[in-house]
Symmetry: C2
Subunit: 210 residues, 2 copies
DNA sequence: TTTCAAAGTGAATGATCAATCACTCACCGC
DNA sequence: GCGGTGAGTGATTGATCATTCACTTTGAAA
């Protein structure tokens, strides 16, 4: 029907093997599977963010990406690997945002850089998809491949925050801990509450969509 | 078949309306539905902790409780309300543990009490079911009833920690934030890792099963 | 123009699961 | 012993979903 082949919108994608360098054709042409995979992974982030791993169908991911269910299975061997690809993509985005935040920091002390990274993270997750996917991933981390992907992502951002800011271990730990508190505030819908107890948790947290 | 009517093992249960006071019969007699509900809720905590909301069948909850699937539906109107009952039960246990910890505190300063509550929490969640249920609840908090139950529980323990310890708002916030970090460490399986990055996150956290 | 491989799809299939129903059995007051 | 009420179950239903398969379309090279 209205197949609407969307021409990889600005997605740089890690097209590492460019054996077909001259094949930089026009848009609207069929894309190669390798180029399409990251686009579908990005769509999977949005779809899985809505319903979680068990609550999201492959059909929903296909619809989000504008392709058929069957083709999702041609691009990824199964649901589990698709979720892992989405999670990897998620942490890629986060590290990039932290780097951008660090680069934009006014105060270049360790604490200043860490703070700027916090701001950048709050900005990044203003659409909530990246945040929700992390929470859903925690929920199914007992699936071995997903747990491994989660640890890989956490290692990535922990190491990055530490190395890029030069902050002390305790400060990096606090950075991550308050990130988790932020996740709780958003998922539980505490940000919008005015009660005293909610104020205790919300204090000083830069909320997405604030 | 092997119906094996288990006689409410030691579960005090809030049998609030005892219109049938004389009916304190023996064990091995059929239990009333009101007395059985909390027992099934406790079983639901364990079952849902394993698979999450979408990944756990009512049959699994029934098996955990030692009753048939059909009878679970006679005790609770549906899966959603059963999960909510499990979550309420979970936060009840947590508040009780915090109170016990506070009572056992050596140092009765605000910080000392908060610390003792942290120890008691670490002890409580050593079997991980209560911890995992909270993570799963975050994951499906967009289901209105479940989100409301989660907020209710968080309000409960935040208010309790604040009132019982008398600590400053910022310290209570930190208490909750590091609780969330603890959840991440356990679900992602970081506690067992030896790498430097994992050490940053693990530092000073009292791990369950440590 | 023909041809071939890769892109992409519609329609099954087989399993699983929430929810329902019709039923049996034990107890209690009479 | 009889009748009713509530405890508890096995079998079924209707829907949903991951995965597969057979099929069509497209683009470009020979």
């Amino acid at each position: 029907m209205s197949a609407a082949i969307t021409p990889l919108n600005g997605l740089t994608a890690s097209v590492s093997e460019c054996t077909f360098t001259y094949m930089t054709q026009r848009a609207n042409t069929l894309s190669t599977a390798d180029a399409r995979r990251p686009v579908v992974a990005a769509a999977a982030v949005r779809a899985f963010a809505r319903g979680g791993y068990h609550g999201t169908t492959i059909a929903a991911v296909g619809a989000e990406a504008g392709i058929s269910t069957a083709y999702v299975f041609k691009l990824f061997p199964g649901k589990e690997q698709l979720f892992v690809a989405a999670l990897d993509y998620c942490f890629e985005q986060i590290e990039a945002a932290l780097e951008a935040g660090a680069q934009a920091a006014q105060d270049v002390s360790a604490a200043g850089i860490l703070d700027a990274m916090g701001d950048a993270y709050a900005e990044l997750i203003s659409d909530r998809a990246l945040l929700l996917l992390q929470v859903h991933a925690q929920s199914v981390a007992d699936v071995p491949e997903i747990g491994a992907a989660l640890r890989r992502g956490l290692e990535r951002i922990t190491r990055f925050a530490q190395a890029r800011s030069g902050a002390a271990d305790a400060d990096v730990q606090r950075f991550i801990a308050f990130g988790q508190l932020c996740h709780l505030i958003v998922t539980a819908g505490i940000a919008d509450l005015d009660d005293g107890w909610a104020g205790v948790l919300n204090a000083g947290i830069r909320h997405p969509r604030g």
